[in-house]
Amino acid sequence: MTHATSLGLDSRKLAFWTFIGSECLLFGSLISTYLIYKGKSLVGPYPPEILDIPFTSFSTFDLLMSSLWMVLALAAVQRGDMKWAKVWLFGTALGGLIFLGGQVYEFSSFVHEGLTLQRNIFGATFFVLTGCHGAHVTVGVIWLLTLWVRALQGKLGPEHAMTVEITGLYWHFVDVVWIVIFTLVYLIQ
């Protein structure tokens, strides 16, 4: 993939940025739906009764750290330091897994407290929005673990820096979406 291109930009990276642009509209629509239906629930539980800020703050911290590991993984791959690349790639994926574990815990405790998809419009919008984000995290974790396994097999080297960079773009975008969700859903109640 080293053909000369008209813009002098890597085609895969360009495609990926257009994909991220497209994702903005996807999450924009979901977040709009959440905000439009805010305070429209006919029955409880309502957000302030149920959202656990300290716990979610930890999840936010965890995802932020995993974003840091991701850029460190990229920097390691770019300088050909595959030993550390493996460490950071695994760390990033682990951060994603911890986040997902947190989400499973959060969802199940909400269901336990009576908040389901069907219970009220808050439940519906909350689960669909954060669930869609969680699905994105899941895809990211699978992607990262794939790269990690390739690295363990010795099939990932500095020549694949662009692949790692694109994985990173995806991962950071997922993080950025969480930054928005954390503020709009959890902190502004």
Binding site: L35, I36, L74, I188
Partner: protein, 103 residues
């Protein structure tokens, strides 16, 4: 529009920059959660939180996604749809009366 080779040589920041950005992001997150718990911030809570969130968003996009030093074209291709999405959100919130003019 000359033929160029894919720009592999754009300088990515060093690990030090990445760690500094992470530190700032962490501090902002702590401030966000702090502000949430301080009653005195109640009147300005929403604008404060939105601003802090926007700063975090921008930092990640600029440094971790490299838009600051990468081709301006990527900024354009991401920024265009982002603006559309923001416009759509604001439009929808107005239409559903979440914002009310002159209150």
């Amino acid at each position: 529009m000359d033929q160029g080779t894919p720009a592999h040589d754009h300088s990515h920041p060093t690990a030090g920059t990445y760690i500094r950005v992470a530190t700032i992001l962490l501090i902002i997150t702590v401030v966000e959660v702090g502000v949430f718990y301080v009653p005195a911030f109640k009147p300005v809570l929403v604008p404060t939180l939105l601003m802090l969130s926007a700063v975090k968003f921008t930092l990640v996009v600029m440094f971790y996604m490299h838009l600051k030093m990468d081709s301006r074209f990527f900024t354009f291709i991401f920024g265009g749809p982002l603006l559309l999405a923001s416009g759509m959100m604001i439009g929808l919130l107005f239409l559903f009366g979440v914002f009310v003019l002159g209150r």
